[in-house]
Structures are given as structure tokens and as C-alpha cells.
Symmetry: C2
Subunit: 248 residues, 2 copies
């Protein structure tokens, strides 16, 4: 993790851009902290880091106010990163199926989502490795993010993730449903009830599949980007409950 820029936001949060291998990312840390702060992996929605920035910085600043550091990286295939093999074909197949009113097959969903999951998960683990080596960052880590399949696999395979906020709202491959049964950390799942292009039943089935003893589903009215402010605040309190408590 090589830092390339640093600036101070008006609330005292430090925003540093970095490069990890060839992956660009951003780290936000609270103004001052007497003890190490827990890191939250802030996975962007699949729209590219530049477009996602306003949403991400908002969430990172709120998290910093609660004493958490947040880090994000460009997802594989987005921004200036090379497109994933088969991604264009998969996107075209999806568009064709949706336009024709045909069912979106498992093949299309797998081709669309699995290459992204397979690359993204080890990248987030590398981010976590480096974050935990930084002075002032330590303790249990959280994950908060947009592509629920990435968060599900990461929570299933990475024991350093202690709690996860997951946003339902994308297609979910069958294998991810199986992996959900391996997830045991506390989960806070946000579902936009009227999300266009989101399969509500699949989201409910996925929530049901997680093995976590504490899992909460918060469904709110409105479309994909309409998560109400109070729902964001509830997600933050979830991290406070699970990341702060374990620090002590």
C-alpha cells in the first residue's frame, strides 16, 4: 500500500489515496484517536470508484466520527482497471435477456458475477493485510459493501472480518448461496424493497441462508439508490456494537 496523496477534510478526517500493486484506493482515518481504530473495508458499488466517491466519502466520514478507519479500492474491471474477460459478453447477454423479458439464467449470472468475486476477494484480503500493518489501525475488521456476492464470500473465507453490512441488490450465483451457509459473523443486510432489477425473493433467500446467529435484515421502501439516511445510521450502530465491543 503506497500512499500517493493526502488531504485533510473539513471535519478533520484524513483522506489518503494509495496504490496497492496496480489497484488504486482511498483510505480515510479519523482526526485523532488514542487507541488503534478498527478498519472497515468499504467496497464500492460496481459503477467505478470515481462515480461512487460521493457516497463512499459520506459513509467513510460517518464511520470516522464513530472512530473507524475506512478503505476502498477500485473493483476489478472498473475505472482504469482492465476489463474482466467475458464481462462484456455477460453484460450483453444480461441486457438481451432483460429486454426480451426472458429469465436471467444461472449461466448469465455466473458469467457476470463470479469472475468479479474471484478477483475481488483476495484483493480485499491484501488490503486488510496492509491496513493492519499501519500504525493506529488494529482490532476487528468490518466489511461494508455493494456487491453482496463479494461480501458473502469474503465473510465466509476471511476470519479477520468480524461483522459485515451487506447491500442486497445484485444477481447472486448459486454457489454463493452455498457459501452463505458458511458465514457465521454478525450480519446487517440492507434491502431496498422496490429495487428495480433486483430479485427480492433471491435477496430474502440469501438472507435466510446465512448461518450467522445474529443477522438482521433492514428493508426500506424505494429504489436502488434510495437507502434512507436513518438506515445508514442504523448500519453504523451495527458496526459500533460489533467492532467496538470486541476491541475492549
Amino acid at each position: 500500500m503506497r500512499f500517493t496523496s493526502e488531504r485533510l477534510l473539513d471535519d478533520g478526517v484524513v483522506e489518503r489515496e494509495f496504490i496497492l500493486g496496480e489497484i488504486p484506493g482511498i483510505l480515510w482515518t479519523p482526526a485523532s484517536a488514542s487507541a488503534p481504530v478498527s478498519p472497515i473495508l468499504l467496497s464500492p458499488p460496481p459503477i467505478g470508484l470515481r462515480r461512487a466517491y460521493p457516497r463512499l466519502v459520506g459513509r467513510a466520514r460517518s464511520a470516522a466520527a464513530q472512530g473507524f478507519a475506512s478503505a476502498t479500492i477500485e473493483l476489478p474491471g472498473y475505472g482504469d482497471r482492465p476489463r474482466l474477460p467475458g464481462a462484456e459478453q455477460a453484460a450483453a447477454d444480461l441486457r438481451r435477456a432483460l429486454e426480451a423479458g426472458e429469465p436471467v439464467t444461472d449461466e448469465i449470472i455466473d458469467a457476470l458475477v463470479l469472475p468479479l468475486v474471484e478477483r475481488a476477494v483476495p484483493e480485499w484480503q491484501a488490503v486488510l493485510d496492509d491496513l493492519l500493518r499501519l500504525p493506529g489501525i488494529g482490532g476487528p475488521a468490518g466489511y461494508s459493501g455493494g456487491v453482496i456476492s463479494i461480501g458473502t464470500r469474503l465473510a465466509a473465507v476471511e476470519p479477520r472480518i468480524s461483522a459485515a453490512v451487506l447491500f442486497a441488490g445484485s444477481f447472486v450465483p448459486r454457489v454463493i448461496f452455498e457459501e452463505a451457509r458458511q458465514v457465521t459473523v454478525p450480519l446487517h443486510v440492507l434491502l431496498q424493497w422496490d429495487d428495480e432489477g433486483n430479485d427480492r425473493q433471491a435477496a430474502l433467500d440469501l438472507f435466510d441462508a446465512y448461518a450467522s446467529e445474529e443477522k438482521t435484515l433492514h428493508a426500506n421502501l424505494g429504489g436502488h439508490r434510495g437507502v434512507p439516511q436513518f438506515a445508514g445510521e442504523e448500519a453504523e450502530r451495527f458496526f459500533v456494537r460489533h467492532l467496538r465491543r470486541k476491541l475492549r
Copy 2:
């Protein structure tokens, strides 16, 4: 509303028992308030007021800490109140169906729930009439309660209810699904995901049916009585958002 006893709880909350007509009830008011406090109709679960008391007083005290008054009454057919006609037969039919593994028919659900709803709703309206005549109580009212069909009809017909917390977890007659389409106030619905004897799909369908522009479903793991403490706190913040804001 005739008060029959008064005592001061250790946090300064005043607990007064009352009789309304022949219905026993309890009113809890905050220690001190400079402005009128909003009332919350705290509908008990269908187990009788005496058994429900520990849960109700806990919620009333938390509500008082936020500056709300809470009132509860014995539901029709519970405690010392006369049993509802047909209630025993309906309960026996339900038991038989469940034991035989047969579907619970609309007829059984209607016979079990509708007589209760038909009597309870005007009673809650009478409680509200009297509460709003008391000194120190005023402003928009909330409803928080256990039999979701009662809360649904009350929210549909009573314009003085400004926000409702509803607990999914009982059988819902078909006519209540229709009435849900008339409900437009902000709703906060709590669903215990693994509630024994609760039809999860019916709860999700009912949530979908409400016409409210702001409605939130909070699903948590665990059985009927396992609502986690943080879920109760979230419901309280919902009332703070909707009842306090409108007071100003």
C-alpha cells in the same frame, strides 16, 4: 378514564392504573416535561396484561426516557375480561389443524382474529380520546403493538395515529390485507425471522401491501419472544423521528 392507583417508578416514571368503562389499563408518563408529550398506544401481545406487564413496562420506560407517554389496556377476551364468543371454538379448530399438519384455513383465521380486531380498534380509539384530554399529553400519537391486524386496522381508520410499530407474528385475515392498502402513515415492522407458528411469507406479503411511503421491515433471527434489545431501540428511534419532529 378513571385512575385507580398511582406509583412512582425508580426512574421517575409515573405509573397509573385506570379503568376505562370496564376495561383495565395502565398509563406511564415521563418524570417531568415542559411541553405536552405524545402518547403511544402500547398494545399488549395476546397473553393477558398481567403476563405481558414486564415487557410492556420495559418499553414504556424506554419510551418515557424519550419523552413519550404510553398507555396499554387489557385486550378483549383476555385477563378478567369476558371471553369473546366463538374464541374457544376458533382456538380449538386452530390447534386441531396445526396438530394434524393441515393448512390453517381462512375461516379459522377469520374466526380467531376478526372478533378481536372488531372490538379492540374502537377501544383504542376511546383510549386515545381520553389520553388527549389529559393535561400534559398532546400532539401526534403512535401505536406499538402485538396483534398486527389490530394495528393495521387502527392505522387505516384512525387519522390521529401518525406512526406505528407493528410486530409481525400472528395470523392475518384476508380482509386485513385489503385494509393494509389504506395505511399511509410511516410504519416500522418487526419480524422475527424464525418465529414458530408465524407465517413468514404472510408477514412479507402484508409488509408489501401497506401503502405507506415510509415503511421499514426489520427482520431479526430468533423466535417470537427473541426480539433483540437493539431492535427495540431502533423502534424507539423511529418514534422519535416521527412523533417528535411533528410536534415542532
